[in-house]
């Protein structure tokens, strides 16, 4: 890890909603080209960490990306810097078409030729979306919406994708499909920070992982190590 360059680094992150502390002094790093999984139960603070990185909730502590401190950076500019989030619940614009949803993610981009190329890429990766181009986002099935959400993040041309529960509400077949695509995107050069309750699948594709409990990191290690850890086995992998 230390040999590689730190792309995203979070140190001593604290997030509070009113009097309730959701995240207590969490620190971790993500290196370029990695898949890092944050696993934990409901309310462990996983989503709060992603939201802080994207700049949509206030926090204390520091988060830096490519050496730049993100605290004073507006959410829309963080995307332009190269961090795109697929929010929990997907955040699809239901009354806009699939095409419009994808186009919105290119808001900050001026490079027309590359945008056209990225459209092709997304439609190759998700042929389903190409078929439904002119359908409203709200009319898609859950799996298609998840594909659209990931496709949108790719359209923003970010180097780093933050995925918040991509397997939520999907059938086992679709879950496998989504994880296969995540691994594929990672192979194509994107860094991925994955937040999941599905520990089994995510540790499988992740190079490294962190286990969160009530807002603290309690365990960390490579994906393999964590899968072998008795505590993880008992709590998240069903024995």
């Amino acid at each position: 890890m230390s040999a590689k360059e730190k792309l995203l680094s979070v140190s001593n992150l604290n997030v509070a909603y009113g009097n309730i502390n959701a995240v207590h002094g969490v620190s971790f790093d993500v290196a370029a080209g990695e898949i890092v999984a944050l696993i934990g139960a409901n309310g462990a603070g996983k989503s709060s960490i992603l939201r802080s990185i994207s700049g949509i909730i206030p926090y204390s502590g520091s988060i830096s990306y490519k050496g730049k401190d993100l605290k004073q950076t507006a959410a829309d500019f963080i995307v332009a810097l190269g961090i795109a989030q697929v929010p929990e619940g997907r955040g699809i614009f239901g009354n806009l078409t699939v095409m419009e949803n994808l186009k919105l993610a290119t808001w900050h981009r001026q490079d027309k030729e590359n945008i056209a190329r990225d459209f092709d890429r997304v439609f190759t990766l998700f042929p389903r979306l190409a078929e439904r181009k002119h359908q409203l986002g709200g009319m898609l099935s859950g799996g298609e919406q998840q594909m659209l959400a990931v496709g949108r993040a790719l359209m923003s041309d970010a180097d780093t994708l933050l995925l918040d529960e991509p397997s939520m509400g999907l059938s086992p077949v679709l879950v496998r499909e989504i994880f296969r695509i995540i691994a594929e995107i990672n192979k194509a050069g994107k860094t991925i920070l994955l937040v999941e309750q599905n520990a089994n699948m995510s540790l499988h594709i992740a190079q490294r992982g962190y286990v969160l409990e009530t807002g603290r990191i309690v365990l960390s290690g490579t994906g393999q190590e964590l899968m072998g850890n008795p505590r993880v086995k008992e709590a998240y992998l069903g024995g």
Partner: protein
């Protein structure tokens, strides 16, 4: 008989998908409005109603940009209208030379719009610092502040109002400004900027995560909306030749809101339909006197029960939809018909 209607419908669909008809409609409308007002084909009362219809279309379309497309709730549109009305009137009465008024009138209208949009900017900057329903409260207060402010400035007549404007708002001018406003707002809605506006209504946080600068988009949309309210105010003042602060109170703002929701949110065609129906109905029901103030809300209640999204809610007449969208959707439908896919 059924064939006859079908035929007409098909004709209309053809017309509405050919952009060649835009300039034709514009030229025909302009010619009609010039002829009608020059040769007294329409009596003055009818002309005045048409002028009100035009002004109300401008007000409705511009408010729809904020309330319908962007999903925020602004209730101070009459305040911006008042600022436009007073600015334009002060210019034509006190500043511009009387001999050149006819030529300087567009300038006065634009000045009214600019004044309203500057105030709009001042209102928008603090209101959009936070998310949520603050805009409704701020604009409500703003409308009241404008009214009491105008009532307390003696130089412009205070509560007695301001007069001395010549009748500069003619049918052709109203037609021109109405088409211009509708055209500009329609183009705005179907631009990249418009997609940003829509995404704010759908999900503001997701919109932020898509790199849309939501605060900037909201401020610009609000400023554009206030500009056209100011334009409408300037036209209104020179149609009536008399304005007083009471004309621009909360009732007027409510009128505009009713037209927006009657016609349907997020629809240009809906705004036009809503403004036309509401304005004409108010005139037709005039003999009922105070009872029409009972009938109109009743109509609104029934509308909300049976058609909660308004006449054209969230839909658009093909006439206003960009050709590339119509074409793309048509091709896509054809393709799907040829190869019906196994849907999930």
């Amino acid at each position: 008989m059924a064939d006859f209607y079908k035929n007409i419908l098909e004709r209309w669909q053809n017309i509405s998908t050919h952009r060649f008809f835009w300039p034709v409609f514009f030229a025909a409308g302009l010619a009609f409005s010039i002829v009608a007002s020059a040769f007294d084909i329409l009596d003055l009362y009818l002309q005045l109603i048409l002028i009100y219809v035009g002004i109300n279309i401008i007000l409705t379309v511009s408010l729809n940009l904020v309330n319908g497309y962007m999903g925020e709730f602004s209730i101070g549109h009459a305040g911006f209208m008042a600022i436009g009305a007073y600015t334009a009137s002060l210019l034509t009465v006190n500043v511009f030379p009387a001999g050149a008024l006819n030529y300087l009138f567009p300038l006065a209208i634009i000045a009214g719009g600019v004044a309203a949009s500057v105030i709009g900017l001042i209102v928008a900057i603090p209101s959009f610092k936070t998310r949520g329903d603050y805009l409704a409260i701020v604009t409500l207060a703003f409308g009241m502040i404008v009214k009491s402010g105008l009532e307390n400035i003696e130089v412009i007549g205070g509560p007695r109002g301001f007069l001395g404007m010549s009748k500069l708002t003619t049918l052709p001018w109203v037609f021109f400004w109405t088409v211009l406003s509708v055209w500009i707002i329609r183009n705005l809605v179907y631009s990249k900027f418009g997609r940003g506006v829509l995404s704010i209504r759908e999900d503001e946080i997701a919109s932020d995560l898509m790199s849309v600068n939501t605060r900037q988009v909201k401020i610009i949309a609000f400023v554009v909306s206030s500009f056209f309210a100011g334009v409408a105010g300037g036209l209104f003042a020179h149609a009536l030749q008399f304005i007083n602060p009471r004309m621009f109170d909360i009732i007027k703002s409510t009128d505009i809101l009713i037209m927006v929701y009657l016609g349907g949110i997020a629809s240009i065609a809906g705004s036009i339909i809503g403004a036309v129906i509401y304005t004409i109905l108010l005139e037709i029901l005039r003999p009922l006197g105070i009872w029409r103030m009972v009938l109109m809300p009743l109509m609104l209640v029934l509308l909300m029960i049976y058609r909660p999204r308004g006449i054209m809610g969230m839909r658009e007449a093909r006439f206003f939809v960009p050709l590339r969208d119509l074409l793309a959707a048509k091709l896509w439908k054809q393709k799907n018909k040829e190869a019906p896919d196994a849907s999930a």
